[in-house]
Symmetry: C2
Subunit: 351 residues, 2 copies
């Protein structure tokens, strides 16, 4: 097969980790007879510096006309803690999500047996954890009407959801549940919020189309607790944009493998793949960043093209690297630390 | 001193644990020469069953004319998972908060050295944890306009905050920080929400009145992560209603002493004190519920009257009971388990 992949390296360690994912993807393409054309484009602080805009139109054209987007990381300290700055990298992120219609953010949390000790949680609590969040990404309070009244002394935000928005996100969750253990948890705050009641109603309406899936409904505060207490209890979780923002980040620390977690943002036509970690500017250019989360994001990309074998060889290579200690300094534990590039080379050579 | 205390036992184990807190408070009153008049009133499912209303007017009169409210727990399985039922116990809770003006929910999370092993987190991560949330409780999305449009196919909720609402909550946080380690964290989502930007602006404006307090601003998703990773990094945290709902519940599990955590909801005239645990209907009437969280809530009540010594004797008695193994079955660890009433008797006798 032939693919055009938009390549949005972004800021900080983004370019370095993306380079390794490209290397590994090219090795996969060669092995399976695919052809990938990479289309680099600007985003984040890098794009603000170059053209004054975090998600330039030209970048959007490239993304929209590609088969997928591979994304590094964005964010730069000079924009930190100034949510009122006129142009900020995260505005580009939100614009990109909306314009590309990336409505379902898929965030798996799973454990690597060799890394269990890195978790702040006790080993027996997390062993075997394997859950995945489907977070709605293009609606809710992120995109609702907001503003000020009373001379700026009153502020408001509107959270809004339509039945269709909920349905298309929920279907992704049900489909994933069918491929997994047929357990789905809808996370809401239906004892307080009207949007949550519509979520619950809509998901209840879909239950009959997926009779094999056991659906539970839990309040967001209860899930925030139980995720830390009993992460193994969960499998597929679906939720709205803001709850998903908080809970997926919370979930990412429990496995102890946060630096390795990939993600996907599924769109109506094009989908995007990126590591969940940030741009980590302190490490930029030092060849020390761990590229595995980005490499695993490339695996999700192949799997999303339904190329399951291609995804699997990448996952196998990563597992092998972990087992053999071919890791960057964050995982070296006093052993030998390899560079970002060396880990990428090793993974590509082991495809 | 003379006090009238409204006594809202509520549902499930509420009446049993409240009984012990009354016993202990009476022992304190006797020791220090105070006089407490208890004013029992109906609330929760118990009130729905009796008068069709979870927070009857008569209960409100009693609360509003008392010096404080001591609250057990509400909630009954027959109302669970039916957020569309016409009358629900939690509506009474919200009505009570609003009508009594309980604007600041104070939720401490601290550790008992003998209980560290109960935490899902590793001991070295939580040892020494001592943080307190100030959650705004009478505004935000809980009380904003909400409804449906498009034949019920679109739902919305409005989150709204005024500068005054933020100011009075934030001041409580600053004052607590001054009594503690002079560190305050404002939790918001100012990169997305206008209400959060008003929170940040308002808190920034207060900084100069409390020059000794070091203030940090963190996004809610980052705090959801870092609370699990490094709970010891936090001291006083202030936040809005919905973020507080999620984060205080998350924080409650990290200490391993969830069943022991008290809370206060400070109002403009009267304040309320309650354990953070639920009504635990399965245990109701069995004399097995742990009364310590409710007893410690009574300690917070005395402290809020500025009777610090009275609060301290209660805390000392609880610590002594824990050290000597005078505990209910949830903490017995194979040792002897005492009944709810026996623990209450022991605590009262040790005041
Ligand atoms: C940067 C921010 C706007 C963004 C969000 O809240 O969605 C981030 O936290 C994320 O989860 O991707
Ligand atoms: C029962 C519910 C409405 C309530 C809330 O969300 O405030 C509860 O979760 C709490 O935190 O006291």
């Amino acid at each position: 097969m032939k693919f055009n992949i938009a390549l949005l390296a972004g800021d900080g360690i983004g370019p370095e980790v993306i380079e390794q994912a490209v290397k590994v993807s090219d090795a996969v393409a060669e092995k399976f007879g695919h052809e990938i054309t990479w289309k680099p484009a600007l985003t984040g602080a890098a794009a603000i510096d170059a053209v004054g805009e975090p998600y330039p139109d030209e970048t959007h054209e490239i993304c929209a006309s590609s088969d997928a987007v591979l994304f590094g990381a964005i964010g730069h300290p000079k924009f930190d803690n100034d949510p009122t700055a006129p142009v900020r990298p995260e505005q580009g992120l939100l614009k990109m999500r909306k314009k590309l219609g990336l409505f379902a953010n898929v965030r798996p949390t799973f454990v690597f047996p060799s890394l269990l000790d890195k978790s702040p949680l006790k080993k027996e609590r997390i062993e075997g954890t394997d859950l995945v969040f489907f977070r709605e990404l293009t609606s809710g309070v992120y995109f609702g009407e907001k503003g000020r009244k009373d001379d700026g002394n009153t502020a408001y935000d509107t959270n809004m959801y339509t039945r269709e928005e909920i349905t298309r996100l929920a279907r992704k969750g049900f489909e994933a549940a069918m491929q997994r253990s047929k357990k789905l948890c809808c996370v809401d705050k239906a004892n307080v919020m009207e949007t949550s009641r519509l979520w619950r109603e809509t998901v209840q309406g879909l239950e009959k189309e997926y009779p094999e899936v056991t659906v539970s409904y839990e309040f967001v505060d209860a899930v925030a607790m139980r995720l830390v207490q009993w992460p193994k209890d969960y499998d597929v979780l679906i939720t709205e944009n803001l709850f998903g923002d908080v809970l997926t980040d919370e979930a990412s620390v429990i496995s102890g493998s946060m630096g390795l977690m990939p993600s996907a943002s599924l769109g109506t036509s094009v989908s995007l793949f990126e590591p969940i970690h940030g741009s980590y500017p302190q490490a930029a250019g030092k060849n020390i960043a761990n590229p595995m989360a980005t490499v695993l994001s490339a695996a999700m990309m192949f799997e999303n093209f339904n190329l399951l074998e291609e995804g699997k060889v990448i996952r196998d290579a990563v597992n092998k690297a972990l087992a053999e200690g071919i890791v960057t300094e964050d995982l070296a534990e006093g052993g030998k630390a390899y560079g970002t590039k060396e880990v990428g080379d090793w993974l590509a050579a082991n495809i």
